[in-house]
Point group: C2
Chain length 326, copies 2
DNA sequence: CAGATTCTATAACAGACAGTTATCGATCTC
DNA sequence: GAGATCGATAACTGTCTGTTATAGAATCTG
C-alpha cells in the first residue's frame, strides 16, 4: 500500500517545505509530486498535506509518514549497499571444494590471487573427492568444486548433469608411472602398459584404482594390486621401498617428491582432466566468478611449469639397486 | 532501486522455498514472481536465486535481501498502521481554539463527547478571541477554531477567507440586556435600545464593545461606556452594584449567574453567531471532523435548553432597589 | 494597487512496468 | 514410463508513473 517512493516524497516535502522544492531535490517535476501526494492521500484515506496559500504543510498523518521515511529508507539503502558489495566483490563468500591433491598448489595459489585482488571476498575451503563435491554442489552446500576425471570417463555422476553443471577445464594432468629409482624400467624413456603385466601395483583413491584397472584391462590383464592407500606420501614410500609401482598424476608427483622414485611417461598416454565445476547460476555470482577465474589463471601458470617438470621427471634416468616386489 | 515489493517477494521465496509457493502466499501468479526476481537480478547485477532442478535456492545476495525484508517491511507496516490509526480515529490530535465564553459549556461538552467516542483522539485546547484564533488556523497552529460574529459582521478578518475557511454554524446566541434586578426596566418584557440613551454602560471584550457601539449608533446615540473588562464575572458584579448596564450574550449569562442581575430581550433583537471554523483540508482529517461533529451536536443540545433559559431570564421580573448609575 | 513571481493543480499524453493467461520444457515421483 | 509439479517464456493488457504545457491562486514588490 505505502511504498518507499511515497515515503521519500513525504520526507522531501517535510524537509523542503514545498512541492516544487521537493520535486527539485528528488529530481522529479513538480506535478509528479503533486500527483504522488494525491495518490498517497487516496490510498491512506487521509489528508496528508494541508494546502495553505501557495505553500503546503504536512498534517499529522503526513508527518507520521515523513518521520517513518528515515528508518525505512536507510534500511533499504543498507540492503542495497550490502548487495552491491557482493556484486562489486567488496564482499562475498565462496564455498570451495577440491579433491586433496588439488589442495596442494592449484587451490592455494588461486585463493591467494582472490585474496589479493578482492580482500573482501572470503573463501571457505574443504577437501572432497569429485563424487561428494558434486553432490555438495547439487545440495547447495558448495559454490565451486574442483574435480577431475580420467580421460574418457565422467565426473562420477551420470551424464544427467551435463547442463545442470558448468565445467571449466583447468589442467590436463598427465598420468605417469612411478617406479623405484633402481627399477629396471626406470631408465626407459617410455613404458608400455602391456609390459607391466607382472608388476605388483599400489592403488590410490577409489577412482584412481578404477583408472588403473581400466588401463590394465585395455592392455589385456588384471593388475596385481597389493596395496591401497589414499595417502600419496605413503604410496611414494611403498614405491621407494620396492614394494610396488603405481600410476600417479603428474600434479601429485610435483608435490610429493621422493628421491628414490622415478616417474616415466606411459604408453598409451593417459591424462587426468582437472576441471572446475559450478552451476550456471552460481557462475554469475561475482565472487564465484572471480574465484573461478583465479583457478583458471593459476592452472595456466602451473601448466606452463608442468611441461618442464614432466619432461625432467620423464627423462630422469635411474641407476640404482632394484628392489624385489613384495 | 530496490523497493519494498522486491523485498517482500524475496522473503516469500526464502520462506516458502519455491516461486509457486511464494506466489501463492503473496496472492500473485507464478510468472509474476519469476519476472520480479529477474527484474531484481538485472537491477542489482547479481544472481539472487539459484535455479536448481525444479526448485530454487537463494544465493548469498538473495539471502541478504530476504534478511533485510523483515525490518523494512515491518517499519513500513508500522507507518501504515500509524496513519490508519489517525485516519481511523484510533489516534489523532486536534488543536482547538475557542473564545473564552465558549469554553464554559459548549467546548467542554464537545470534548467530553469526543473523548467518550474516540478515546484515542487527544484534543489540546486554548482560549483565543476570533481574530487570533483565525490567525492561528491560518498559521497552522490550530486545527479548529470556535469563533463568533455579531450578526451582520464578519469574523474579524476580511472576506478574503471565505473559501479558505469552512465555517459551520453552531449556535445562534441572543444578545440580552443585563440590568440590576431593581432597575426600572427590569420589569419590562422587552427594552428598546433607543430608550437606553442615558444609561451608563459596561463593555466586555473589544469586539463586544464594538457591538455595543454599533447598536447604540443604530439607535442614534453614542453610549456612555464607563467600564471595560473582559471578565464577565466582574461585569455582573458591576451591574449588580448598579454601576451600569450591559449587553451580554445569553450563553454567558447561562454560565455567569448573579442573583441581582436581570436579563431582558432587546429591540432591535441582536444575535451573536457562534461558528466553528477550519480549513477544507483539515475538515477531512477524521479527528478534526469528529470534533467538529461533537461541537455541532453539543451546540444543538445547548440550543434547545437556551430557548427555555432565555424565556425564563427574559420574563423574570425584578422588584428590588434601584441603584444610580455611576 | 497592479504586475511579476512563485507556488500548486490539472490536462493530455507517453512509456514503462507489473500483472495476467497460455504454454513449454524439465524434473521429481509413483 | 506416465503423470504431476515447478519454473521459464511469450504475448497481451491495464495501470501506474512519469513527462510537458497551462491555468489559477497567493505572495511579493515597486
Amino acid at each position: 500500500m505505502i511504498d518507499a517512493a511515497g515515503l521519500r516524497v513525504m520526507r522531501a516535502i517535510a524537509d523542503e517545505g514545498s512541492f516544487t522544492a521537493a520535486a527539485l531535490s528528488l529530481g522529479y517535476s513538480q506535478p509528479a509530486i503533486s500527483q504522488m501526494v494525491r495518490r498517497l492521500e487516496t490510498r491512506t484515506g487521509t489528508t496528508l498535506v494541508e494546502r495553505v496559500g501557495r505553500s503546503v504543510r504536512l498534517t499529522e498523518a503526513g508527518q507520521v509518514l515523513a518521520r517513518h521515511a528515515g528508518p525505512v529508507l536507510s534500511a533499504l539503502d543498507a540492503a542495497e549497499e550490502e548487495v552491491a558489495a557482493i556484486a562489486g566483490l567488496r564482499s562475498g563468500r565462496v564455498r570451495l571444494m577440491a579433491f586433496p591433491s588439488a589442495s596442494a598448489t592449484l587451490v592455494p595459489r588461486a585463493l591467494a590471487k582472490v585474496k589479493a585482488e578482492h580482500p573482501g571476498v572470503s573463501i571457505t575451503f574443504s577437501e572432497a573427492e569429485p563424487p561428494e563435491s558434486l553432490a555438495a554442489l547439487r545440495a547447495g552446500e558448495c559454490d565451486l568444486a574442483v574435480a577431475f576425471a580420467y580421460e574418457g570417463t565422467d565426473l562420477g555422476r551420470g551424464e544427467e548433469d551435463l547442463d545442470a553443471f558448468v565445467t571449466t577445464p583447468l589442467l590436463d594432468d598427465e598420468v605417469l608411472l612411478a617406479v623405484p629409482r633402481d627399477h629396471e624400467l626406470a631408465a626407459s624413456g617410455n613404458v608400455d602398459m602391456a609390459a607391466l603385466k607382472d608388476e605388483t601395483w599400489i592403488a590410490g583413491c577409489p577412482r584412481c584404482r578404477g583408472h588403473l584397472l581400466q588401463l590394465a584391462s585395455e592392455a589385456g590383464y588384471v593388475p596385481d594390486v597389493a596395496y591401497e592407500t589414499e595417502d600419496y606420501v605413503a604410496v611414494m614410500g611403498l614405491i621407494a621401498e620396492g614394494l610396488g609401482i603405481a600410476v600417479i598424476p603428474d600434479l601429485i608427483l610435483r608435490t610429493v617428491h621422493h628421491e628414490e622414485v622415478a616417474a616415466l611417461p606411459m604408453t598409451p598416454a593417459s591424462r587426468r582432466n582437472i576441471v572446475a565445476v559450478t552451476t550456471p547460476d552460481l557462475q554469475r555470482v561475482p565472487a564465484v566468478k572471480a574465484t573461478l577465474d583465479a583457478l583458471v589463471e593459476s592452472a595456466r601458470e602451473a601448466s606452463a611449469k608442468a611441461g618442464q617438470r614432466t619432461t625432467r621427471g620423464g627423462t630422469k634416468s635411474a641407476k640404482c639397486k632394484p628392489v624385489p616386489t613384495a
